[in-house]
């Protein structure tokens, strides 16, 4: 494919229509081929989407940082007297009782997905990445929840978790014996209850990503390990896992981003209260839904931004490395 076009390109360059273009060396030709009009078109084709991205994504990101130093309430203009330095941060870290619980819930979310859900997804991928009967059907089933909206996932699991009407309490006989567990209302356990629901969706996602990675592993590596007498478990940890390093990074990044974005399920269950506080929910509650503490909400947004930068930068450096 590449060879044939490479040979036809110079041939076409000698056509009469292209005679006006100065041709000397491949590099030069590429630039001179572009007319003024082409250059304007290129600028527009990149410029319009880029402008939208900067106005609606990066502009607001920077604005969040700026607003976090103010006590602005969202009405009128931001004036010099609105700037209150680091007071929002001071209050957030020491006075605001919901910040640390929400922060910890995000951390638990991250740890749960990283050490329970993601390894399970990897395990399923490894088990299904071989010639076994019905592997496609297994994959389809595990992947099914991924296409569902988190809102629907929330509803589906509510039917399991409800106090007297839920399946789990009835199946465990807790309704009959009168020891109902309030899965979604008890602030000590409700976070874990929704983490199970979130994992139901996350595991399939990781499985598919990992399966695609496993397919790209050179089969002769495994063959060599088997010849050397390694067990399947040894082969995975000592041979396959290390060569999967690039995909492992993607999996870790995806998991981290998912944990920081967590919002929908907690919001569906109880608007993110009473044990289900998350940073994302505190941002909207403080600044939009319930109060208009724009400056304070922005300070929480900045914390979320700073944490998100860790996986984002990790991902970008990996992309950079492979591109160069």
């Amino acid at each position: 494919m590449a060879d044939t076009t490479a040979t036809t390109a110079p041939a076409r360059a000698t056509k009469p229509g292209a005679g006006a273009v100065a041709i000397s060396g491949r590099r030069r030709r590429r630039y001179t081929l572009l007319t003024r009009r082409d250059k304007i078109l290129l600028v527009l084709m990149v410029g319009i989407p880029l402008a939208l991205d900067i106005i609606l994504i990066w502009g607001p990101t920077l604005a969040s940082v700026g607003l976090s130093f103010t006590n602005w309430d969202g009405i009128g203009a931001v004036e010099a007297k609105n700037f209150i330095g680091l007071k929002n941060y001071q209050f957030m870290f020491s006075g605001y009782t919901l910040f640390w619980p929400a922060f910890m819930h995000n951390v638990i979310w991250l740890l749960w997905l990283t050490f329970i859900a993601t390894p399970l997804g990897i395990l399923l991928a490894v088990l299904l990445d071989r010639e076994i009967r019905g592997t496609r059907i297994y994959q389809s089933v595990f992947y099914l929840p991924v296409v569902l909206s988190l809102v629907v996932v929330g509803f589906i699991w509510e039917l399991q978790y409800f106090g007297t009407d839920g399946f789990i309490n009835n199946a465990l006989g807790l309704v009959k014996s009168g020891h109902i567990i309030d899965w979604l209302g008890d602030s000590r356990i409700n976070l874990y209850a929704i983490l199970v629901a979130a994992s139901w969706r996350h595991i399939g996602y990781i499985m598919i990503l990992y399966l695609a990675g496993l397919k790209s592993v050179d089969p002769s590596l495994r063959e060599a390990a088997r010849v050397d007498g390694a067990t399947e478990v040894q082969t995975f940890f000592n041979v396959v896992f290390p060569v999967m390093a690039p995909i492992n990074v993607v999996i870790v990044v995806v998991t981290a981003i998912e944990s920081l974005r967590a919002f929908d399920i907690a919001f569906i269950i109880n608007q993110g209260k009473n044990g289900l506080e998350l940073l994302s929910i505190l941002i909207t509650n403080n600044s939009i839904s319930e109060a208009s503490l724009v400056g304070f909400g922005s300070a929480i947004a900045v914390v979320l931004l700073l944490i998100s930068l860790v996986p984002i930068v990790t991902f970008l450096t990996r992309v950079m490395r492979t591109t160069n």
Binding site: P60, V147, V151, V152, L159, F167, N170, T284, I288
Partner: protein, 315 residues
């Protein structure tokens, strides 16, 4: 299929008798157990949705269907909760949303992969990183922008009591289909650009060069040379973007205030408030809401999965 069967036929008879492996049995037992665990919550929701409320009040939810099963809940939720109407709301957002995202993202990916210029990597990074940000990081200023951006009113297209505003019906970006489409497009363009540029990197630059030599302008090369070559990637992205936008909850929650403009997933949330005692009805609503993405998944499974994996394995 037949080819696979014949090629695997040869070694099978040799291996089979040697290892009737307990490991295989254990593996399948584990996988089947997982399958049951995976399908149970969904199956339970379907079961609940098919039972009349009177039956569950009498016998409890965990009971055999004494009163029989019926589609009554589906009929009720379809009519009472105006579901067709919310499907339409989703449709008018998702269709232009997916189309515009693919157009913009493929333009950027084309310019960044087919031409070498100083900042093409930087531009790709800006798009990719923008899509990885949690939506809540940008929501406060975005909400303000939406409340303060004037948009002309150009009337509306009315179908029954459904009214689709051309641009806007309140002179703002806030609380408009247009506003939701816009943020979906801009946010998802980041992801689509990343995936499509990974795909386009595999197309040799010589194609663009020879088209330039033939006198085509870059816009035309993008439209009639590169886009047709990217058809598999575009199909994969389209299915994926469809489910992303269909399943969105957050943008509509914050940027739409009129209940009747909400897409189906956020409308479901209101349903919970209205009919909170009737789990059967809510289950029916939830099942109806997840039919379109499940259909897309079943019909276009290949595209769906390749869309996801294109973004992670290459690049």
């Amino acid at each position: 299929m037949a080819a696979v069967a014949t090629t695997t036929m040869q070694p099978r008879p040799l291996r089979r008798p040697r290892r009737v492996r307990p490991a295989r049995v254990a593996l399948h037992t584990f996988l089947i157990a997982m399958v049951v665990l995976w399908l149970f919550p969904l199956g339970w929701a379907v079961y609940t949705s098919l039972r009349p409320i009177s039956d569950t009040i009498l016998h409890g939810y965990v009971s055999w269907p004494a009163g029989g099963l019926s589609f009554t809940n589906y009929q009720n939720v379809w009519g009472q909760a105006d579901l067709p109407y919310y499907y339409l709301n989703t449709l008018v957002v998702v269709v232009p949303g997916v189309a515009l995202t693919l157009l913009l993202a493929s333009m950027v990916a084309f310019c960044c992969t087919q031409f070498t210029w100083k900042f093409n990597l930087t531009v790709l990074m800006i798009f990719t990183a923008g899509n990885l940000l949690p939506a809540q990081v940008i929501i406060i200023p975005l909400y303000w922008i939406y409340l303060h951006t004037p948009i002309p009113m150009l009337g509306s297209i009315d179908i029954g009591h459904f009214s689709f505003a051309l641009f806007t019906d309140n002179t703002l970006l806030y609380d408009q289909y247009l506003g939701i489409i816009l943020i979906h497009v801009v946010f998802q363009t980041g992801f689509a650009t990343f995936v499509l540029s990974n795909y386009m990197k595999t197309i040799t630059k010589e194609i663009t060069e020879s088209a330039l030599v033939d006198g085509a302008n870059v816009f035309r090369i993008w439209w009639s040379v590169i886009l047709p070559l990217c058809r598999p990637a575009l199909a994969a992205m389209a299915t994926l973007l469809f489910t992303f936008m269909y399943n969105d909850f957050f943008w509509a929650l914050i940027l739409i205030s009129t209940g009747s403009k909400r897409p189906i997933t956020s409308a479901l949330n209101n349903l919970q408030g209205e009919f909170f005692v009737n789990n059967n009805l809510i289950a029916a609503g939830a099942m109806l809401a997840c039919i379109p993405p499940i259909l897309v998944y079943i019909l276009l499974q290949k595209q769906f999965i390749s869309g996801l994996t294109l973004g992670s394995t290459k690049g």
